[in-house]
Amino acid sequence: MALNRRQLLGTAAAAAAMTQVPRAYAQSDSIVVSSIYDQSGGLDVYGKPVADLVRFAVAEQNAKGGLLGKEIVLKEYDPQSNNQLYAQFAKRTALADKPAAVFAGITSSSREVVRPILRQAKTLYFYTTQYEGGVCDRNIFCTGVTPAQTVQKLVNHTMAKTGKKAYIVAADYNYGQITADWVKKFTLDNGGEVLNTEFFPLDVADFGSSISKIQAANPDFVYSALVGGAHMSFYRQWKAAGMLGKIQLSSTTFAGGNEHIALPAEEYNGHWICQNYLQELPGERNKKLVADFHKMFGEDYPYITELGMGAYQAFLLWAAAVEKAGTVDRMAVIEALETGISVDAPSGRVTVDPATHHTIVDVHVSEARDKQLNLIEKFEQQPPADTSAVCDLINNPDDNQQYVIEL
């Protein structure tokens, strides 16, 4: 992986931040946490901001004096958008670093690679990305938003403004497949219909014929759950075929990979999205975070993404639980998190839901325009209703599976 200027600056700043820490730590007297996020390959658009926010969170905590008086040491791995490497690094970090917690995985497929490995290795796992919901395993905390929190709000919003006929394009792996099912369910619940659903493997970059198919079907709106660098071409080709503005496009993945920064604004203006976090959110807590983060990573940092914020908020929850438990011991920390621990985060209040190990958060419907995400509507304190319909770790603590939606 190329070490670019920004990473170099970030690392230097992190090092600078760490030198302010009281130097009382002995080497053995530190807490190790691991991060495994794609910083190269097709998913780097997602992984880089996440890795940066974990670095930031660690540096911020160390600047406050660490945790339980110990310095936090971050072990970073770059699985290069390759699930095989996720398996390798998860095993390796669990065995070699013996971390107190692992923050890992962008795609749902990578989570399903890491999850059984860390469960077997008895290592606490935080999966921090928005995803399709349904994971039920006491060793994992999923701090990202799930379809009942975002997809439902966005489908309702879009159908109220456009019409009843939907066309779904989605990435061809478990996230895309299950999210597409949720979109279909919410559309049907609203009395609408889904004209067609198309799935694209992550390396597909030519959408010409799909766009013609969409034109032939003539839906009221297109729902996109496309993922990754290659899929960014869809938005570009959508505009090139003259479809932008003709048919509304809504997505819970657009902007998650900085699509609204990487693409010129005239190629996407007007897409609707729904996320937990927007960098533009008002409120002192968020303003301070954006300022501090830019101090460390530079003013020209593209955007603090929702995925990055997910990891930051997960770190806050973990740190709060460690302080509450007074130890980094895995079961003690899990029990502390299961008390329904809550932190005041940049996106609003974030609370752990004890029964599902998911989080209760605010979500925001917004419009992408001119490299910004402009808030349209806010929904406060949304519970993970999809997962709680199927998962109850209080009564079944040994449950270990991912439930999928039945249509």
């Binding site: 670019n4 071409s233 570009r236 505009k239 090139a240």
Partner: protein
């Protein structure tokens, strides 16, 4: 009716893309019996030249696609021919392996230089409406460009001294040398031409795809298979193979998914090679160029 015309355009577009990504390889294979596995990386480099030319240097996009990309990539091709390929003439498998090494090295080098991130530019062409459908104007550009490239190459091989000598070299390099020609230089120029054509293809495709250092892998297998299936006759073989594969790919993409389209293309190629081990032109269109 509208749908039929849009489908026809998409099929022509698909054929044009195949022509643009494979014609350089076809020239090198047909003229020199060299299979250049770094061809996909030449396409990738062409894409980067166009992207950096327009975004960083602020040059006109058409200048970048049509002049700068082929020029720079052609020069890269000449250098690599001088360093590596020239020492392996006559050893088909070794050339293939050595250029596969070059392919990996170029991907690695570009990853170090620009990072493993998708970049792209948008096409300046407006969309074109056909009834209730509309499609990207860039498809028409690709079709026109592919047509032009085929005609220009045919003229080059048929009507110029270089073309005559090159075709003679293909048939009997020693005889050409005896008659005062210079086969080595012919080979070098041909390899450079193949690289330049790949650069042109990469530049032309840049506005519709995202360019990333590993993108060559997406194209090399397809280009490679098209060329082998076409056989040793450069232009007729390439036209026959691209028309067949482009149509099959696009139709299956319409009926099913892009992946089934890709698989249909590959399966068709495997069967074709089994039936016609010398390629399409080994059996048909003999005596053409």
């Amino acid at each position: 009716m509208d749908f039929a015309s849009i489908l026809a355009i998409e099929i022509l577009g698909s054929i044009a893309i195949l022509v643009l990504i494979s014609i350089g390889l076809a020239v090198v294979f047909g003229m020199m019996k060299v299979i250049n596995m770094a061809h996909g990386e030449f396409i990738m480099l062409g894409g980067y030249v166009t992207i950096f030319g327009t975004t960083h240097a602020g040059l006109n996009i058409w200048f970048c696609i049509l002049v700068l990309s082929p020029l720079i990539v052609g020069l890269v091709g000449l250098v690599l021919e001088w360093l590596v390929v020239r020492h392996l003439y006559g050893r088909m498998i070794d050339t293939m392996l050595a250029t596969w090494g070059l392919s990996l090295a170029i991907v690695g080098l570009m990853t170090m230089l620009v990072g493993n991130t998708t970049t792209g530019i948008s096409t300046p062409l407006p969309s074109v409406a056909i009834g209730k459908f509309s499609t990207s104007g860039h498809v028409f550009f690709l079709i026109a460009l592919a047509t032009f490239v085929i005609i220009a190459l045919a003229c080059l091989f048929k009507f110029t001294t270089f073309g005559l000598t090159a075709r003679a070299t293909t048939q009997d390099a020693n005889m050409v040398a005896n008659l005062g020609g210079n086969p080595r230089r012919i080979y070098a120029v041909t390899f450079g031409l193949g690289a330049a054509l790949a650069g042109l293809g990469g530049g032309a495709l840049a506005p519709i795809i995202g360019v990333i250092p590993t993108i060559g892998i997406t194209y090399i297998a397809k280009a490679f298979i098209t060329v082998i299936s076409g056989g040793a006759t450069v232009i007729a073989g390439n036209l026959a193979a691209t028309s067949l594969f482009g149509t099959i790919n696009q139709l299956f993409t319409y009926w099913y998914t892009p992946i089934i389209g890709e698989v249909a293309l590959l399966v068709c190629a495997v069967i074709l090679i089994r039936l016609l081990p010398q390629g399409i032109t080994g059996r048909f269109f003999k005596g053409t160029i």
